[in-house]
Symmetry: C2
């Protein structure tokens, strides 16, 4: 029987690549539901190619535009309710959460409660609600398979091993678009420069997060929840080639690493086929051609957002939500040329500083903290 | 209950390091039997430290010397019969085959038939009798855990994976003592130069095998049997740092690698504790300090012995035995300054050329081919 897949964020970078993987293996996968925003042209094309039963779009006006163009062929939903419909009530075996930001939270929890396996590409879900998500996944025995290349690598390196014998995990970081610049050179960098990632082709938000290394900070917090490890046992090393996607060091000092060319379709496919591996149209890694792999220390003076992430993670409660939400708004504002590149960090730091942490928050408290942090971040550095 | 360990070759490089690992974990391991050659002083010290029940030495004269110095404290055996006693009839749970050369063959087979798990460090066993060993191990459900760092790495990279989804394995090779020399510079190299391995501290024979790359050729044949892979799916890449110990590429292009500092005690301990991993006094790998890992293509013109090994492996039958036995004698002769360094390859090539292959050989035919090849190799290039 084919695996039934639902995707939150089908028109984004991870969403389209997930559909690309599915298109390469029509004998294995069936798309049952898609959720997207306002890119009606693309969602129409996806409906025609993959024939989902349910489609959700951003809001009522996007829904009526879609309805007017496609008729009653598919069930059309919208908004938060639509996301939950796609995630939890579309008959999917697996939900790929490729949506960006805190909107992924409620539908992911709903999917877990409905027993749907999660292919996790939405970082904010674990950042904000790791304690709720992992508890629910454990209680419902729902697998959470990471799609992020770093976490997928660690997940693969843990195959067949005893998690109790893990000494530390080592997340590799490309260093982002500005890795060869001094901190003093970052004051006036442009949006266009920040969007030029050296190795990966990704969405705009994640590319900026990679340049600030907020990305890596979020991955540290995510790894804490996914793999149940103290922050002391999660390290970051700069690896400019992005060929070793991450590593696990065990009690006996053996390190297991996962390597490959930078191609998000590989970890996406792995999440869809796990525990199997299947062939795909991916370029094999040629280490001789690569020639050399380099490693540099993580410099927290150069990348203060990584320290902020560790602080937020160790603080816990609503603080990681605030870190992530403040960053989300700050990145939007940078992309809109409303603040400078280095002000992204300033926004995050100031919002965190003003936050009164709620420990062990429920979903509503998380969303309240998220709302508060966004509001604060929007008002920061206004003339 | 403690794991009962027997060791063939306890006074050699792997043997002493195995005892070092055991000494670090007296709560886990007990030494029940040791076999060594003529180093009576060291075997006496090992008897006093580890209190084995059975000890075997090279021959009757070594046995009576040992008996005169230690009395009736332990059961003393010698020769081929002694090796089999230690391997198969000492009550061991695991046999570490750290003996060098074809003498390891019969006792290893006897141990498998007796249901004793094998920690395999004797390359020649699989080279000569891979078909017999793997058949017996399968029939008796006896685990064969490789100790060689490359095969241990591959074994670790296969943890939790489906062997059917392996695309190829990539053995890394340091390139040996002469990796930065042209082939034309090798004509007059000395024994002392050949014994200076850049990364690993090993026995003399294996260090020379590393300089000629016969070592890597033997590992290719060994990997063929251990992991059940065609020769087309076994590759060699030069990796001067010896930090990535080997890799497995899967169907989806993902590569899983095992990394660590060069310390044979780590794969030895892994074989003893598998499937567990435990802490030990080993220096953790610091990739930032290493700085860079390099990769170069395997050049079969520079290292013709690797091609000879593939040829011997593909030819099968008694040919790998002849390759290995001719090499063993050629290395002895080089160490005795009886032939030049490059003549090691010439000896192997000539003996292989003159060999009439017996397909699917039994133990006697293997030993006959081994004897024939040694004899030929001894007579080659005599004045």
């Amino acid at each position: 029987m084919k695996k039934r897949i639902a995707i939150l964020g089908s028109t984004g970078s991870i969403g389209t690549q997930t559909l690309d993987v599915i298109a390469n293996h029509p004998e294995r996968f069936e798309v049952v539901a898609l959720a997207a925003g306002r890119n009606i042209d693309l969602i129409l094309e996806q409906i025609r190619t993959f024939c989902p039963r349910v489609v959700s779009v951003a809001d009522a006006s996007a829904a009526s535009e879609l309805k007017s163009r496609i008729g009653d062929e598919v069930q059309i939903e919208h908004g938060e309710r639509g996301l939950i419909q796609v995630a939890a009530h579309s008959g999917a075996d697996m939900l790929v959460t490729a949506i960006v930001g805190s909107r992924g939270l409620a539908p992911t929890l709903a999917a877990i409660e409905a027993g749907v396996a999660i292919g996790l590409a939405n970082k904010e879900t674990l950042i904000s609600a790791g304690h709720l998500i992992m508890e629910a996944a454990k209680r419902r025995a729902v697998p959470i398979i990471p799609i992020d290349s770093e976490h997928s690598a660690i997940f693969q390196c843990l195959n067949g091993e005893n998690p109790a014998q893990v000494k530390r995990i080592i997340l590799t970081a490309s260093g982002g678009a500005f890795r060869d610049k001094q901190r003093s050179e970052l004051a006036r960098v442009t949006v266009e420069e920040a969007l030029r990632h050296p190795n990966w082709s990704m969405g705009a938000k994640i590319t900026i997060d990679s340049a600030t290394m907020v990305n890596k900070g979020l991955e540290v917090i995510e790894a804490h929840w996914l793999f149940g490890l103290d922050y002391d046992r999660i390290e970051v090393v700069i690896h400019p080639e992005s060929i070793i996607h991450s590593m696990v060091e065990y009690a006996d000092t053996s390190i297991i690493a996962q390597l490959g060319n930078p191609d998000m379709r590989v970890p996406i496919q792995y999440a869809l086929t796990y525990p199997e591996r299947i062939a795909g149209p991916y370029r094999p890694l040629d280490l001789v051609r690569a020639g050399a792999l380099h490693f540099r220390p993580m410099d927290t003076d150069r990348y203060p957002s990584v320290s902020m992430a560790y602080d937020a993670g160790r603080c816990g409660g609503t603080m990681p939500t605030v870190f992530s939400a403040a960053n989300e708004v700050a990145v939007e504002r940078f992309l809109q040329r409303d603040i400078e590149f280095l002000q992204i960090e300033d926004v995050i730091a100031s919002v965190m500083e003003q936050h009164q942490v709620t420990p062990h928050p429920g979903l509503e408290e998380i969303l309240a903290a998220d709302h508060w942090a966004r509001d604060m971040a929007r008002r920061m550095f206004r003339p």
